[in-house]
Symmetry: C2
Subunit: 648 residues, 2 copies
């Protein structure tokens, strides 16, 4: 989707015409652009990635060689929570009973709405026009218990209810969605359109004079999704549920034809259809004692047209995932978990506010003239669309001050009201002026930098894999300057001691780079520097792989992909540089002086857990031994050499 | 691979130092850059693509629902050719007997060369240092015949021997490789290097003072490939085969250590190793009667260091594939098949000439000074490297005049000597001046254009799928200009008649766009044009899908990917445009006036086969009927509507 075309009634004739065009993704906002993908594709990506990554990381764990398998057709039947164990990090306070459904139970019955006897899929069974059928499925499940699948009991440290607008978990916890339904009813058709409407492959917002609105979303495989306002459908009014028996593809298409005339539109192939009633609601609480969490539609529901349902929900889970993982693996204190509600409930509130305004403008009748106060202004609509795009992109998210976001101000006002600061004596405040475009609380922006060792350009974000590690990014400045060289050497020394935060907070027998990754970006000319100009801690040693060539980068011109101009774009001084701490989810925690080791240490001390001794060496001093050995023998002793035929 | 670093002896000290750097892919030569990928990965891409595409296209063919399966472990045992049937297009003059090997037979025995007892793979069994073992495998196969796999007899219209340097097919035909071996022996190690050599992740050419040369190729998974000259290895001299018993990973590494000192290098992990003797040979003939063809190493062998073995071989097959397919499916005359040898043998000759020069420079000892006439000049080496890169990129290929390349000159001189022109009265000569950068005989260059209907940017080459269709690309110029509009309408009219080449050369009951694809690129502002400004033949109709939105493009600025400036880059006049005919393999056949329908028709008449009547309608006139129907009923009659749940 590249362009949004706005179609409105001509003021003189009342006939729709294209009045404006807006780029759909705001230019230069991101290296990615907006696309539409079937939700099943997205889920497939996740399932494949879960399978692939878990197989790799669990291959040596007995019983888990096949990795993690996502189970479908499982319903919870009871939930118990032992509140007395909530603050004991090692305890399992949650007990859930699960029931594996039979195939018959797990397949929801769909309405018989095919046009010609073949099975046309509709989405009404998942629409908010249908009633909550969770209890019904459960009752049926109990009835069929004797002949059907097995039950199991799970004891858990943590639990996430991502079970949709009718969330069973939310109901068990007694939490509420707050907000109301509107009277606007919309139908949805996924069709291969046969039409003379010239902008059918553009995203369009079409406001007719008095027949309602259509939104056009071009899709894959020649499909187009049409969101069609159903102005003639009987509805109960006052936010009550509409009569869905009157809604079918024919009636939805007829509405579209009325709105889009004088253009003609029909189809021979319909892939899917549904209808829904717009409502905006947000959950009153996102967690029980930071042990049981809610995410996605379970805590925020709104109209689908802003394209935010799946996106904001995935970001909920992405925000929570690394926090729970770092508590479970013992590196972080439980106090960081409160930031989930503080950060994500605030986003949900902002989303619902936006959707409320946007829906009213989309479903409203266009004003005839400036005196028509009941009609909505097309200029206001256009501005809302533009603002909505910034919001929808996700890059505008700005998390408030907290134990993991080192910025000034009142953390309760910057979030949803939850208190999320740690001990005052460990509070660190960033020096934002050292990197004016790396905004604390926002996502690390991405510009291209080159790998020092092989000259390959990377978008900086590509280096920030979601593997749970914190990053200390050292913008080393001009390391050809002796003063700057002295600073980086001094920092390297402090980082390499046996009492540095790299070692103090790394669990025994793990390498420091399993918790912290050190990345550096310097600004001297690439061709005048090698990785050996940096202290070893910046290009760590491995006994099998030698030096690490993938940690040191440079802000220089590439042969084929232009110049990222990263220092300039990040607002960092080319000579003196700066240092940045990034959370595992790419959000910026702290900005400070390049060699301000003390602030880094203080920041991590605020929530990281001091580890017992016995850790591995710093992975910086292996070369000397190998180098000595080579002087005499050439090859390492053959009984040490690793040979094989690994897939390459 | 981004940069080539040249390391040479310092003139004063004799110690190697980095004397120069060259970008590895020539900037702006292509939208792609050079990368190194394990050959197994490339083969996997092909196997997956063959499977996926053949399943889709053959799903309705009984017995072929599972698509095409590539069989391994099959050897030919006899070949018969009935020369009297050679020119009968419908005949099957080839009879091949095939033997399916048992697993044991099909697994070549490797040398026992592991360092510590584990199975280190080496490539000596495929190296040219080993003798031709085809006959041996065959004999063994006969012995095991009783208990082993089955035999089958295949009758074929065409056959391609892509069976390597020891080609059995070539031997059956009695064709020869012409050329000689050199005395240069090289070893190859794929290792994870442990080293202090600073450019180990760059492509490097290292000439030592007197110990030989090393080429460094950084690879995936931390691997580096080293090509190492073995100056101390005993070899027979005079182009005879070297004694391979003295060659092993230790001896190869020892050579590298000597060449690269004072830097140190060793490894713990070796993935693969081999050794080879450089030789350059090219086949004397590439086909028997244009029925049995040879491709790849079967007709050209050379040193691996230019990275051209797999590339040039794949291009052989790509050149031949569409030609044989279009003859077999009855759209083209057999005369086009002669262009395979004319085009590809010439390329092989050029490759061997280049490799000969390059190998000598790589394996030679650096000159000590200008008076050292036996030594090679490092300046000359650098220039050869730069020239080699242009050659290696493949974009410099320029096919000579022929029945499918409408340019002037002597076709025998421009190719390998084969006569490949058709009837003189049907010869068409391009007007190259109308598109100065779309060179007839070369590959269509790629610049970004926007889809008119959805504003999406495409690299033009992305539109040229390898599906066997010819393309007529109409650079329509400024179609807001009434004169230009009249020209495109007139062209559309000629193309749409029942006697146009689109219909005359399209087999009965097929759509014209299965043989010819019409693409257009105009230069008027995108926002002032819709696809309905073009005659219907340029956006063909389909009864289920409506109009085709993916054929008309515009040279305009994109929102997110800059401006392709295609007319300017192609050297085409923005007002008047031009027309281009592209072969199914993206090579340019003809350039002429935008509305020069007569030359297009003459060109295709030179080799395409007139089809009997009874073809489908022009796929341009369906809208009117649908439009009329919608006026009364809104939806198509339900018994016509196609509904379903296709994976979207």
């Amino acid at each position: 989707m590249l362009e949004i075309c706005l179609w409105n009634p001509d003021p003189k004739t009342g006939i729709i015409h294209r009045s404006d065009r807006i780029p759909d993704t705001i230019p230069n906002i991101s290296r990615f652009q907006q696309v539409v993908l079937h939700q099943g594709r997205i889920e497939r990506f996740f399932l494949d990635s879960i399978s692939e990554n878990s197989k790799r990381t669990l291959k040596a764990v007995p019983g888990w060689e096949d990795g993690i398998r996502v189970e479908h057709g499982v319903l919870p039947t009871s939930l118990e929570f032992d509140e007395s164990l909530a603050e004991n990090a090692d305890a399992y306070p949650i007990t859930v009973r699960l029931r594996h459904l039979t195939e018959q139970e797990a397949t929801p019955k769909q309405s018989a709405t095919s046009l010609n006897g073949s099975g046309l899929q509709d989405g009404l069974f998942r629409s908010n026009l249908s009633s909550d059928d969770t209890q019904e499925l459960l009752d049926k499940s109990k009835l069929l218990q004797a002949k059907a699948g097995r039950e199991e009991t799970v004891k858990a440290k943590y639990m996430l209810g991502a079970d949709g607008a009718h969330s069973w978990v939310r109901n068990q916890l007694g939490f509420k969605l707050q907000g109301e339904s509107t009277d606007y009813i919309w139908g949805v058709l996924d069709i291969v359109p046969i039409t003379d409407f010239p902008d059918i492959r553009m995203r369009c917002a079409i406001h007719s004079e008095s027949s309602g609105s259509v939104m056009v979303i071009p899709r894959e495989n020649k499909l187009v999704r049409l969101y069609i306002q159903l102005t003639t459908t009987e509805n109960a009014g006052g936010g009550k549920k509409a009569d869905r028996s009157k809604i079918n593809p024919e009636s939805i298409l007829a509405s579209a034809q009325k709105i889009m005339r004088p253009y003609k539109i029909t189809y021979r192939y319909c892939d899917w259809w549904t209808a829904y009633q717009i409502g905006q609601r947000v959950g009153d609480s996102f967690s029980l004692k930071e042990r049981i969490f809610l995410a996605g539609d379970a805590v925020h529901t709104h109209s689908p047209k802003a394209g935010q349902g799946m996106n904001v929900s995935m970001q909920d889970a992405f925000n929570l995932g690394w926090k729970v993982a770092s508590v479970v693996n013992g590196t972080s204190d439980r106090s960081i978990l409160k930031t989930y509600q503080s950060e994500r409930r605030r986003i949900a509130q902002d989303l619902i506010d936006f959707d409320h305004r946007f829906s009213r403008l989309f479903s409203g009748r266009p004003a005839k003239d400036v005196l028509d106060e009941e009609g909505i202004s097309m200029d206001e609509f256009k501005r809302a669309f533009e603002k909505g795009n910034l919001f929808a992109s996700g890059v505008a998210v700005d998390y408030g001050a907290s134990i993991v976001v080192a910025k000034s101000g009142d953390s309760t006002k910057q979030g949803d009201g939850t208190e999320v600061l740690g001990a005052e004596k460990l509070r660190v405040i960033s020096n934002q002026g050292l990197a004016t475009e790396i905004k604390v609380g926002m996502r690390m922006p991405s510009f291209k930098v080159l790998n020092q060792a092989d000259a390959r350009p990377w978008h900086f974000q590509e280096l920030l894999k979601s593997n749970g590690t914190w990053r200390v990014v050292v913008f080393a400045g001009n390391i050809k300057n002796p003063d700057q060289r002295a600073r980086i050497n001094k920092l390297g020394e402090k980082l390499s001691t046996s009492t540095s935060f790299l070692t103090r907070f790394t669990p025994p027998n793990k390498r420091y780079d399993s918790v912290f990754e050190l990345l550096s970006v310097h600004s001297a000319p690439r061709q005048e520097v090698t990785i050996f100009d940096f202290p070893p801690v910046f290009h760590p040693w491995d006994d099998n792989d030698g030096w690490d060539y993938w940690k040191i980068f440079v802000d220089d011109v590439s042969y084929h992909e232009g110049y990222g101009d990263a220092y300039n774009n990040y607002g960092v001084d080319r000579e003196k540089g700066c240092a940045v701490i990034l959370r595992p989810d790419q959000y910026v925690s702290w900005v400070g002086e390049m060699d301000d080791y003390e602030s880094m240490e203080k920041f991590f001390s605020g929530f990281m857990i001091e580890q017992p001794g016995g850790r591995e060496r710093m992975a910086t001093n292996g070369w000397e031994g190998v180098s000595r050995e080579m002087n005499s023998t050439g090859l390492p002793a053959t009984d040490e050499a690793v040979v094989g035929t690994a897939a390459a």
